[in-house]
């Protein structure tokens, strides 16, 4: 009996010596066959000659342990050979098929969605309105009577002069919304707006704008500041600096122009920001009492703020596009890079 156990131990030692000589997968196969097939088969054969059930059981266990041991050792060894290039199936992982594409996003939409996400999370709802608009909603109810010099800033396309025009800003949606609903109101109105301009590298007669409006009791200028600082920091990064300057819009009073630190140079001054370190991004202000009264609100009870930003120039900066007109040329090879 004991000879068998001695032999097993001896074979173990020989095995340990032999596996050190294993050089490739073929050697591995040979040694695997020698110990797991031939030798163990021989051992099982010897087991038939043993009569005592107790001894049989004991030997069976010893054989199994031996097998397990060999398998484990070979497993470790074979892991080393898996990296062996001469034997494994070879793939060149630097080959990319590129025969299936995800479609490209338009930079205006991509950029707008960043803004929309922040606004929606702050509780703003998205409202749309007509692009062909009445003078009443685009100008008059925004405190811009006929012949007001502020109309110069927004040279307008007309569909049926003088009453029907292409909206020059999406503030018209704000008026329509206020006429239909009572405060509190918290909306953004994204969309296309139009101003008469020829198409050249830095001008287009159409652009994308998003405006926001928040009306309620005791909504203040300091609220306006907090919301817009939050918006800019979320979109452009936490290190963005924000500056508020007095400005003028007929439909807000007080009005503010909002600058942020230049996205290119971070504020030290470069070509993009005209060496000032600042880029004007937003127009805003407290909604003018004339506008509130015009839609039937009590301007003593309700106050609010409005803001607007044109996306084309910002998207241009953000994505490094050279010319503003390219936004509507849709060269897909450019959009695919974004």
């Amino acid at each position: 009996m004991s000879e068998i156990y001695d032999d097993i131990n001896k074979q173990k030692d020989i095995f340990l010596k032999e596996i050190k000589e294993v050089k490739n997968v073929s050697d591995l196969k040979t040694i695997k066959s020698k110990y797991l097939k031939v030798y163990t088969k021989d051992l099982y054969a010897q087991m038939k000659n043993i009569e005592s059930a107790e001894d049989k059981k004991q030997l069976g266990k010893a054989i199994n342990d031996f097998k397990k041991y060999i398998e484990e050792q070979l497993e470790i060894l074979s892991n080393n050979f898996n990296n062996d290039s001469s034997s494994a199936v070879k793939y060149d992982v630097t080959m990319i098929k590129k025969n299936i594409f995800i479609g490209a996003e338009h930079p205006l939409i991509k950029f707008y969605k960043k803004i929309e996400k922040v606004c929606i999370n702050m509780g703003f709802s998205v409202v749309q309105g007509p692009e062909m608009e009445l003078d009443k909603y685009n100008f008059e109810k925004l405190n811009i009577p006929p012949h007001h010099p502020a109309r110069d800033m927004q040279d307008t396309f007309y569909v049926t002069p003088p009453s029907v025009l292409l909206r020059s800003h999406t503030s018209s949606v704000q008026v329509r919304t206020m006429e239909k609903a009572k405060p509190p109101i918290q909306i953004i109105s994204p969309g296309t707006v139009y101003r008469v301009d020829d198409i050249d590298p830095q001008h287009t007669p159409m652009f994308y704008q998003v405006e926001g409006l928040m009306i309620g009791e005791k909504v203040s200028f300091s609220n306006l500041k907090a919301v817009l600082i939050k918006l800019l920091k979320e979109v452009f990064g936490d290190s963005t600096k924000v500056r508020f300057r007095p400005s003028y819009y007929p439909y807000t009073e007080p009005s503010a122009a909002i600058d942020m630190s230049c996205t290119e140079c971070g504020g030290s001054g470069c070509r993009t920001c005209g060496n000032s370190g600042w880029i004007t991004v937003l127009g805003s202000g407290m909604v003018h009492p004339n506008v509130l009264e015009g839609v039937g609100y009590d301007s003593e009870k309700y106050t609010g703020f409005a803001f607007g930003l044109g996306l084309n120039r910002l998207a241009l900066l953000y994505y490094g596009l050279g010319e503003i007109r390219k936004i509507y040329e849709n060269d897909i090879s450019l959009w695919r890079q974004l």
């Binding site: 025969n99 479609g103 939409i109 709802s125 405060p183 500041k225 907090a226 508020f244 007095p246």
Partner: protein, 689 residues
């Protein structure tokens, strides 16, 4: 825009102020610096003056802001006592109505010598600020305007016929030869200043050649007036003549200072050109300007700005900026605004002043507490769902102009009765190619596809989510707008290589597949019905219907029609298009239809059928033969020479499944027999062996 000389400003302000300080103050106070130019010892700053602050269109105006900011004494214009006698004035001046002209001051200087050179410093300033030098009198008038803000006009009175002038609205049309020999057409209603024969001046805008002051002029009249802003604006815009004078008048000037500034100008002319003043001056000023008094509540100021500043602070802020304040009670300050501030009409305007003086940067940001509800915008959210799906299957998003060529209906053979027809055009388009408000996205996408082909971006799928515009008399604007989805594909969908022998090109069935994908996502049923469009190949135009309503169409473009659009010829492959109105897409809740723990059995059947028998009919028959058929799909369609001309083979894939058992071959065969018999009997369609 207004150009300011740094050197000039220093005459009004503290001499030690630095250029940088001035730039900073202007920026902080809301007058954005748009440009800077270097002129040796001097610098010229271009500032943006918004429509509400015409008082900033002079050096004294800019200096007032700077001095107030620094807490220095605000410069003033000296008051003078002119001897006014309108009756004894040598020229008879007749003003039609005060609505047209709020104030008209005139002063005569005789025997001047205008041959003298304009003093160097004046010439220098004018040139730096972009104003042409003409002769001493004209240059001085311009100089004083830039200094103090009042535009002035000078007349050679020897050229005025019958010693009489009228300020009136023109009652007829005439041609006027303005300065620099530029003829313009005066229309009825324009304000003109005329003698008994001719128009001498288009009021507030530009003078005529007739009475202009020249080097040899001896006797002059200086006019300092205030004309109706809207009239000046309309005339200036119509004539396309904008002068420094009209620019100021249309924004408004402080007429209470007109006479004083005129005298200042006269004295300077007198100093340089000599001459004698006429003993009396003319001043038409029927309704002298009233004091502008507004009550300001401290509580309201603090509430609106979200700050907490004291009444005393507000009082001192305003006083510093030339406002006269009076305490009324604990909350109210009565404020008299300076006469040159034309923008202050309401309490809220004063609140802005307080904010401006306090400094916007000194207002602490505080997040609002507001309880408005988020309202879901379904159409808007659907757009994002569509974007995701289409991008996922390889469509690129584009945005095109809303206006398309005016003759595009003709080019694309869209007839009057077609739902895509429109004549909705802009009255002032930038060009004929950007004039029609698009009733369909088809031109936009064709044009965009062609542009990309011209840049060698070939084999493309593009989509646009954009507005289309239609006439609709029931709407307040007379127009209806709809958000549309347009999809266009052409060329290879998958290129050859990697085991694919030939490019797999987009075909008609792909576009149907995309439509199906979208409607499936929204869980909606749709139908396709044959239709006709001038721009599509016969038999390829189908309208899409949802609950009986037409919501769009699909088509294969007819090449000889669409090739008329520039560059479309470059697209050699077939072009497929689909358009869909978005408002009809409405998300339906989808529920699982079937679930079984037994496996699905899958079988393929190659059925030879007549081409005029729709696949849907075959599928309906198959489905009707057993409840155990869970789905029937068209896998392929092909023809070969052995078949009749009017037949083709369609490969159907059928899934069988039962909830109660694993299906056996016998069970499936018996179902097969049912539908194969039916197909044979009803449609003469047989299985291909």
């Amino acid at each position: 825009m207004f150009k300011v000389s740094f050197d000039w400003l220093k005459k009004f302000c503290n001499k030690n102020i630095t250029y940088r300080e001035i730039l900073n103050i202007l920026d902080l106070q809301g007058f954005e610096v748009k440009g800077e130019q270097d002129f040796g010892n001097d610098k010229v700053i271009t500032i943006e003056v918004k429509a509400n602050r015409p008082d900033m269109l002079s050096h004294i105006g800019v200096a007032r802001e700077i001095c107030a900011y620094l807490g220095e004494k605000i410069p003033e214009i000296n008051k003078n006592n002119l001897k006014i006698d309108n009756d004894k004035f040598p020229i008879k001046i007749n003003i039609e109505e005060s609505k047209v002209c709020k104030r008209f001051c005139g002063l005569i200087i005789n025997n001047i010598n205008n041959e003298v050179e304009t003093p160097e410093y004046i010439k220098d300033y004018l040139e730096k600020l972009g104003i042409n030098c003409i002769n001493a009198v004209v240059d001085i008038a311009n100089y004083v305007m830039l200094d103090l803000g009042q535009p002035m006009h000078t007349y050679d009175i020897d050229k005025i016929s019958s010693n009489e002038i009228k300020i009136r609205k023109s009652d007829s049309e005439c041609k006027v030869n303005t300065l620099g020999n530029k003829p313009v057409d005066v229309q009825k209603g324009d304000i003109v200043i005329s003698d008994s024969e001719d128009v001498l001046c288009i009021a507030g805008i530009i003078g005529s050649e007739k009475s202009m002051v020249q080097k040899n002029t001896k006797n002059i009249m200086i006019e300092a007036a205030c004309f109706d802003e809207v009239s000046i604006r309309l005339t200036s815009r119509r004539l396309k003549v904008s002068t420094p004078s009209s620019f100021r008048f249309e924004r408004g000037i402080d007429e209470s200072l007109s006479a004083d500034i005129m005298l200042r100008c006269a004295k300077l002319i007198n100093k340089i050109c000599g001459g004698e003043f006429c003993k009396v001056a003319f001043d038409y000023y029927p309704y002298p300007k009233k004091k502008n008094i507004i009550d300001l509540r401290v509580s309201r100021t603090n509430d609106l700005l979200g700050i907490n500043i004291s009444k005393e602070d507000i009082y001192s802020y305003l006083t510093k900026y030339d406002f006269r304040c009076e305490n009324i009670n604990n909350d109210i300050i009565r404020v008299e605004c300076p006469s040159y501030r034309l923008d202050l009409l309401k309490e809220v305007d004063l609140i802005e002043e307080v904010a401006r003086i306090h400094g916007y940067d000194n207002i602490e940001p505080i997040m609002p507490k507001i309880t408005s509800q988020y309202n879901k915008n379904q159409v808007w959210e659907n757009m994002d769902v569509i974007r995701k799906i289409l991008r996922g299957v390889g469509f690129n998003e584009v945005i095109n102009y809303s206006f398309i060529p005016i003759d595009i209906m003709n080019t694309l053979k869209i007839e009057k009765e077609n739902p895509l027809y429109s004549e909705l055009t802009l009255k002032n388009p930038i060009a004929r190619d950007y004039a029609l408000m698009r009733p369909t996205l088809i031109y936009s996408l064709l044009n965009c596809l062609a542009y990309n082909y011209s840049r060698n971006n070939t084999d493309l799928a593009l989509f646009e989510i954009g507005r289309c515009y239609f006439e609709d008399k029931t709407k307040d604007t007379g127009c209806k707008e709809e958000d549309m989805l347009g999809m266009i594909v052409s060329g290879a969908r998958i290129k050859k290589g990697w085991g694919i022998d030939k490019d797999i090109k987009y075909n008609y069935y792909d576009i149907i597949n995309f439509v199906d994908l979208l409607f499936n996502e929204f869980g909606q049923k749709y139908e396709l019905k044959e239709s006709k469009y001038g721009f599509c190949e016969p038999g390829t135009g189908f309208d899409i219907f949802v609950s009986g309503k037409r919501v769009g169409f699909i088509a294969e473009m007819k090449k000889d029609v669409v090739n008329k659009i520039p560059n479309v010829k470059l697209i050699k492959d077939k072009i497929f298009y689909c358009e869909l109105a978005l408002k009809e897409l409405d998300e339906k809740i989808k529920k699982l239809q079937f679930e079984s723990k037994y496996p699905m059995v899958n079988r393929l059947y190659n059925i030879v059928q007549k081409k005029n028998v729709s696949a849907q009919r075959v599928i309906d028959i198959i489905k009707s033969s057993s409840d155990l058929i869970k789905s029937v799909l068209v896998r392929d369609v092909y023809e070969d020479k052995k078949m009749n001309q009017d037949e083709y083979a369609v490969l159907y894939e059928i899934d069988y499944c039962s909830k109660t058992q694993t299906l056996t071959s016998e069970q499936i065969e018996s179902i097969e027999n049912i539908f194969l018999n039916k197909l044979n009997n009803e449609l003469k369609a047989v299985i291909k062996r």
